[in-house]
Symmetry: C2
Subunit: 429 residues, 2 copies
Amino acid sequence: MTELNGLDATRLGEMLAAGEISAQDILDASLSRIDAREDSVRAWTWRSPTPDQTTAGQSAPQAPLRGIPVGVKDIMQTRDMPTGWGTRYLSAETSPCDAAAVALLRRAGAVLLGKTVSTELAGFTPGKTRNPHDLSRTPGGSSSGSAAAVADGMVPVALGTQTAGSIIRPASYCGVVGFKPSFGTVPMAGIKAFSPSLDTAGWFTRSVRDSRRVFGAMTASSLPVAAPPTLSQLRIGLAVVPVAGLEASTRQALDATGAALSQAGAQVMEAPLPEGFDELAALHKRIMAYEAARALADEYDRHHASIGPKVLEVLDEGWTIGYVDYRRDQKEAARLNDALAGCWQQLDVIITPSATGEAPIGHEATGDPIYSRAWTLPGLPAISLPLAKGPAGMPIGMQLIAPWGRDLELLDMAEAVMQSLQISVPLPA
Amino acid sequence: MTELNGLDATRLGEMLAAGEISAQDILDASLSRIDAREDSVRAWTWRSPTPDQTTAGQSAPQAPLRGIPVGVKDIMQTRDMPTGWGTRYLSAETSPCDAAAVALLRRAGAVLLGKTVSTELAGFTPGKTRNPHDLSRTPGGSSSGSAAAVADGMVPVALGTQTAGSIIRPASYCGVVGFKPSFGTVPMAGIKAFSPSLDTAGWFTRSVRDSRRVFGAMTASSLPVAAPPTLSQLRIGLAVVPVAGLEASTRQALDATGAALSQAGAQVMEAPLPEGFDELAALHKRIMAYEAARALADEYDRHHASIGPKVLEVLDEGWTIGYVDYRRDQKEAARLNDALAGCWQQLDVIITPSATGEAPIGHEATGDPIYSRAWTLPGLPAISLPLAKGPAGMPIGMQLIAPWGRDLELLDMAEAVMQSLQISVPLPA
């Protein structure tokens, strides 16, 4: 049944409802794929020897993820699996409660297969995961295992989190759909904090319609029926923030995307960003460091010698920043985001690169989150779509950004873009 | 050394620095008071048999809480004490890490004496605590034990959290200073979530200067020197939101406070609140219920039969609210808060009752958070000051409210008000 691995959760759900396949078939396909590929991809830090199908079996027939195998990032607490937080120095025990996001997955009928690799504390120290499209390259991070597991067809859905670019970048590198909702949409209860005003749970899928389906599961809500706009209804702004650092081929891919969408009838322009908007990326970095030092104060004080240098660097920077400077940075960030209101009067969506380019070669780093920082700071919803290929044939993602709270509209626009450009998400060759 | 129990942490710190007392003297005074009074007050759910003075001893001489005994609310994870979450059904084990707020307390030199009683999951089911000023009355909740422990002189500082009125109300009922910072100021990592867009860690103290001292500890920052304004520099708006429900004596206390501050030179007026501002209290209730259902999904699904009716009522309401309605409520709340900007152009601070009146008689409920809901929803900083007495001689608090992020200014204004009205915080008679 390996042919099931390339299908999205929506299609699997249809086949299940029609009696063409059973929940066991779906589970077996996932487990076979993991058995075949895990030694190469290394997406999992812990795999359930006997995945618990109880809650899935108890879920209503219309439950949005009924029988769908999922992976959850290893910074999310689980009551029946250990949580390692991407570290070796924090105890990897089971927790009294599931993280709220995990409980919501179970409610929606999902079958948890295990915990996916996170970088250390969701920071910049890589885990063991490799990019399924080229094992010599990073999958990105910090949600490394979740992105790779979905890209490789091991599971159709996996949860991640983003504080800088930890969903959007790995989605781009691995060639899948990665969605980061508006800040605050999914409860972070039971998920390790890094920078609490930025940390956002999101997910990886093979399609936009699946991303919308997971959105319904994670809000435990019946959503209105999807209504993708026609391209001619769309006002699209192209942006690169900050300008420096983008690879030429990615710049070309952005322009080509704009041209193709314009060709398809959309109104495409350069996004009229406010003066000084670039500064948001630097503000993000400082605010994240300030918050991470405090949120991880116990880890810093008691595990200092074990923390990797990439995480320590952020925490050490954070301790040099005081409250008064932090508030000033927050105020400046709010001012820049308020100034974006004028931009949103002229645009429905911003399209901007998800990362600087293709997934870098090597496993010593997870790539640069620079192209997510300015959008994550004000908590805007973002979705990375695998719209292009780079010079080495690796996927390149473009992210669509909408105003805070317009998540469903963003998903509708993303669906319209995918359909218009006839983008599919194939398994690795 | 019982005379130490009525002193604030700032005074104790001065005496310690001057060599007049030792850290052991401070600790002994706390422990003696707890021994003498705990059977009556019932503030603690767990007491450390041997309080750990290691981190306190290692702290720098200028550490803001060096040697100060503290209590922390039992929904905050601790690495060396069990956490019971105000329930009997969640396992009360120690956690791999301290909650960030607890780690920050230790960094500041505090000595943790134990965990203070929380209502069930910080909701509305009372714990065992009694009001130290009249044991037949509730201390308020959900931070019941922390408020009572400080009021009774067991510790000069205790941490709590507020989602509706869980710091401001018990501070008012117990006659102490209760501070709820701007939303997002203190990391909530390791603290049980109830409604993540509202949950805010704060603290109880015997003085405003102590509250500022704890603010420095919890932000791990050197703060600018306090600069209380003169009363003639203050533009004060009196408000009651919503109007219905306030006891006549509390209304009179508010007016008397306004008159006294006007007499002292402040410019006192009725706060020009935006049209429809009252609606924020109802919006708060719905938004809290929506979020609580999702944040506590695992508890709801696995411990349903054990959850008390007052918490279940909130969760059940939350499950009836869907994402689309939730977002509409959030948008309306943001609009009303934006409309408050006009008010802040005319005012420096709003003064409004902390609760409907004196602490109610009985222990079956913790009182009504109604007078905090409208201010907690937009995340505004609030401080309850024990400015009045009710008809039964019980304390009545008034809360001062400032714009988001103006926490230090609020603390300075609160100090000015306390000094001007010559308010002290005596031990219970």
